[in-house]
Amino acid sequence: MSETTPTAVDRGFFGEANYPGILGWIFSTDHKRIGLLYFWCIVVFFSVGVLLGLLIRLELFAPGETIMTAQTYNAAFTLHGVIMIFLFIIPGIPAAFGNLIMPIQLGARDVAFPKLNLMSWWLYVIGAALALTSLFTGGGPPDTGWTFYVPFSAQTSTNVSLAAVAVFILGFSSILTGLNFVTTIHRLRAEGMTWMRIPLFTWSLYATAWIQILATPVIGITVALLFVERIVGTGLFDPTQGGDPIMFQHLFWIYSHPAVYIMILPGMGVVSDIIPVFARKPAFGYKAIVVSSLAIAFAGSLVWAHHMYTSGMSDMAVLVFSFLTFIVAIPSAIKVFNWLATLYQGSILLDPPLLYALSFILLFTIGGLTGLVLGAAATDVHVHDTYFVVGHFHFVMFGGTGMAFFAAMHYWLPKIYGRMYDKVVATVAWGVILIGFCVLYISMKVVGMQGMPRRYYDYIPEFTGINQLATVGSWILAFGLLLMFVNLFRGIFKGEPFGSNPWGGATLEWQVPSPPPTENFDDDPVVTHGPYDYKKAGIL
């Protein structure tokens, strides 16, 4: 995995392995190696997901059957959803960059349970392998959508059972990462690393990890119940046996709504860490951002049924959950205002990490505001299950978490590999991605407003023009992504070496060499100032 020559860059942790070759990676308990394992797996799955997305868009280029049958289309969007949600977005930032960076930011030599950390990665790989196996075995690829709603998922002859097992295992992996991180943050902070000196990225991981611990088991039991319902026939969600299918939706969203905060909170943490560095100013409202992370984690657990306004649940529940949903907007907005206030009157350096972080703020805010349309019960009823919803969650998930993931790549990967990418190409790629993104997903929102339902491989001819526009957008987006990845990977393997601190960050990861040595620190660090105190860090 490391192409670096020892003469140009000190190889750091790349140079030290307990086992030769690939074994030194897949059996390593070093948090940086595990982080990179996650990272490369995630990049691969993301590419597969993008490819599926392109195929879906291609099918929708014209009404009627274009390149695939309805059944194939069902499998394609299910797979696109499952891969993007469970294999890319959820583990994306916490498992890859959390593992790479969080222990260093705390001044620790590793996470609290390094072996458990390795086990998490193995569970992730096994879960991913099972998810992919479910495509080619049994009754064909699952066609339920990533939500696995009963009664269809309990009855379809496709291979839902194996996919359910895969989700269970992936959830287990996520839980173990979460408990590892919470314990690490409580127990392994360096001397002087008080709670109010913890970098905001690590704070966001802390809030995320608690959701992972407290919400993920619910998806575990939900898919387990789906599994036994399919295998043994314990019809707990089967109306003919007295069960209630809406309870499946409740249990599913009790996890899956907090899960969207598992996806977005670390992204917000990345942005909170990047903006002060490139504005050369301390983070405005550090404490408010910390509290809002915890508040989002908590409030995010109270709003799950806003996915179910049209499911037939009680009107009282619709009212209560609609009200609670608006509460989440408050801490999210607090973050956005604090980021903007941090930028205000800063000496801004428009480097690629900041550009991606800025596009996060833009796209996430648009996505968040269209979320209010969906959070309000009265308007949601009109656009429920239309492309408006698809547009909305791509704005928050891809425009939010995805952009934050790209920002994190451009911010931290040079640190890990010790080499820099071409910043001009990275900026061009950013522009192309942003244009493609807007063309693709704004079209979706518009066509959704016009009434095009999601999850159909066909549509009425009136929607042809705007669907073609969206598909063209998907090509621009894909080209931008390709440009970005090629430039980035070329850079980290073949680019120019730099010192330890190319961006001028004051957090601990910039105080160690690039790449960091195996146990991160030669001597245990003593922290004497806050994470964004550039004066005391001697950067300003």
Binding site: W304, S314, M316, F321
Partner: protein, 94 residues
């Protein structure tokens, strides 16, 4: 590894708790023989909560742990209560 603060609980305490748990089991079985109407389930849950508190506090040493452990346990129980409670906004009013 040795931690000065790790409390060493004597056998006698454990045995007393065990006896208390058995007595509470007898009480809950006895209480189930009478019909208190809607209170039945709450009496059963109340006794079960008492029993589990004893197990958590003494058998699992929660009584001797630092505040962090207690707070975390409280958070986990609160979130479970929230999950059940909010679900009932649907179930009770449908």
């Amino acid at each position: 590894m040795t931690e000065e603060h790790a409390h060493l609980v004597p056998y006698k305490t454990f045995l007393l708790i065990w006896v208390a748990l058995l007595v509470l089991t007898v009480i809950t079985v006895a209480a189930a023989q009478f019909d208190f109407g809607a209170l039945n389930i709450w009496i059963a849950l109340g006794i079960a909560t008492l029993k589990s508190s004893l197990v958590v506090a003494i058998f699992m040493h929660m009584k001797y742990e630092q505040w962090l452990f207690k707070l975390a346990l409280l958070a986990a129980l609160a979130i479970l209560a929230i999950f059940i409670g909010l679900t009932f906004f649907d179930v009770l009013y449908r």
